[in-house]
């Protein structure tokens, strides 16, 4: 009995903690500070992981017996592709939060995620194209994954462009939130349809035939790079958010104090 009361109390306590946490999340100066703190330790770690992963992947693994050295681009290509896809969901969920709970900070997060995601998508496409030339003999192929990646890039660009087109940034945030939610409904549909469409025309798959054969000596640096890219995404996101916060709150007292610590309050 008493333990149940205790549990209930604990639940209540948790709820209040959650609530104050949410409340704090909604407070720009707090978010600005905490994001700064996270970036401060995460960024060096990310750079370290990137360096180690790159060195490991590029220098300490053996060349592939079929593709020679060109396969090493996988250490950039796959992580950026994976994180670009995940980034869209981060953006869309932030958009949903900002629409439903009217949390301004989610809005900021969504705005900050779009360009980072677009950049990662572009990197994935670019490295894929570079890789395609030596392996497939063509820069571009209308393959299911490639096509859906291209569409993902357009979805990201759409969000960025829509945001920029609005003068009223609050309205811009809501409009982008709607767009990214609609896009989130569509991503699985697009993926499935492109997949299906491709298999309809050319059932043979050139690309991922060697996938299962991936060697563990290649796998571990790859996993490390994927982790590093996730961290990189987080860092860029947080730094973007900090910049956006400063811009949005440029007229408030805390920003003024930040910029001119000894200025008039």
């Amino acid at each position: 009995m008493s333990s149940r009361i205790g549990a209930a109390q604990k639940g209540l306590y948790n709820l209040t903690v959650m609530w104050t946490f949410f409340h704090k999340l909604g407070s720009p100066p707090w978010l600005y500070g905490i994001a700064g703190a996270i970036v401060r330790w995460l960024l060096p770690l990310t750079i370290l992981a990137l360096l180690v992963g790159a060195a490991w992947g590029l220098l300490f693994t053996s060349p592939d017996f079929r593709q020679g050295n060109s396969y090493r681009i996988i250490y950039i290509h796959v992580p950026s592709a994976v994180v670009a896809l995940a980034g869209y969901y981060v953006m869309a969920i932030a958009g949903a939060v900002s629409l439903i709970w009217r949390m301004k900070m989610a809005d900021v997060a969504m705005k900050a995620a779009a360009p980072v995601g677009a950049a990662l998508t572009f990197i994935a496409l670019f490295t894929g194209a570079l890789w395609g030339k030596p392996t497939w003999g063509t820069w571009w192929e209308w393959d299911a994954r490639i096509t859906s990646m291209l569409i993902l890039l357009f979805l990201y660009l759409g969000v960025v462009a829509l945001y920029e087109a609005f003068d009223n940034k609050e309205a811009a945030g809501r409009a982008c939130a709607i767009l990214s939610l609609v896009g989130m409904v569509n991503i699985p549909i697009i993926y499935k349809s492109v997949d299906w469409w491709y298999s309809l025309h050319q059932p043979a798959s050139i690309k991922f035939s060697g996938e299962s054969a991936i060697d563990s000596s290649m796998l571990y640096p790859l996993l490390l790079m994927i982790g590093a890219f996730y961290a990189l995404f987080t860092c860029c996101l947080l730094m973007n958010m900090r910049a956006e916060l400063l811009q949005r709150e440029s007229r408030t007292a805390w920003v003024r104090r930040l910029v001119k610590p000894d200025g008039p309050r």
């Binding site: 009223n168 609050e170 309205a171 007229r251």
Partner: protein, 205 residues
């Protein structure tokens, strides 16, 4: 001067503040618009009259501080005429987008007559003059059953005779227990107490 007893509140504003483009337009504005009241918003160009009316109407929903509540859907007449050039005056009214309820043909006929559009009922609206074009929209003042009217410079492009007819209509609506908020750069000549709300310094008089 007739002034009805204090009626129920049709719209209420608490602690309203608005800043646009870095300028504070008004701050901590609190008032209630009650049935039987006529309010005139005053202020120079760019004082924030339109912005305040749109907030009252519920068209602007964020970007301001404070609370706004409305008892019912108001009739809003904005800077734009909301008249489709391809439709005739009659069609514009009978298919008006805001009309959940459809008006009878005679009602529309009458309303058009009241705004002086006799003989122009079936002209496509893009072939009307500027003032006639606005009159098509203003005919809604003779049709609507909304109690709260929010009119943003309703007298624009209307000739002197039309203005006095409209002012009469506004006075009549207030006398029948409606409430009207008007912005206008001309003084109102109405048989009714006018509450002035000047936004130049954002104080209530």
């Amino acid at each position: 001067m007739t002034d009805s007893a204090v009626g129920e509140s049709l719209a209420e504003v608490k602690d309203l503040g608005l800043a646009r483009g870095g300028r504070v337009l008004f701050e901590s504005l609190s008032f209630a618009i009650r049935a039987g009241e006529l309010w005139q918003l005053e202020g120079g160009n760019g004082a924030g009259k339109t912005s305040l009316l749109r907030i009252l109407a519920g068209l602007s929903r964020y970007g301001f501080d404070g609370l706004v509540s409305r008892a019912e859907v108001p009739l809003y007449v904005g800077h734009q005429a909301a008249v489709k050039g391809l439709f005739s005056a009659r069609e514009n009214l009978s298919w008006h987008v805001s009309g959940g309820c459809v008006f009878a043909d005679e009602q529309i006929e009458q309303a058009l007559q009241r705004v002086g559009l006799c003989g122009f009922e079936d002209t496509p609206s893009h072939a009307l003059s500027a003032g006639q074009h606005r009159r098509v929209n203003l005919a809604r003042l003779f049709l609507s059953e909304a109690r709260l009217w929010l009119l943003d410079e309703p007298f624009t492009a209307i000739d002197a005779a039309g203005v006095s007819e409209l002012q009469e209509r506004i006075g009549g609506h207030v006398a029948r227990g409606g409430a009207v908020v008007v912005t206008s750069h001309q003084p109102l000549h109405v048989d009714h107490t006018v509450h002035h709300l000047s936004l130049d310094g954002a104080r209530i008089s």
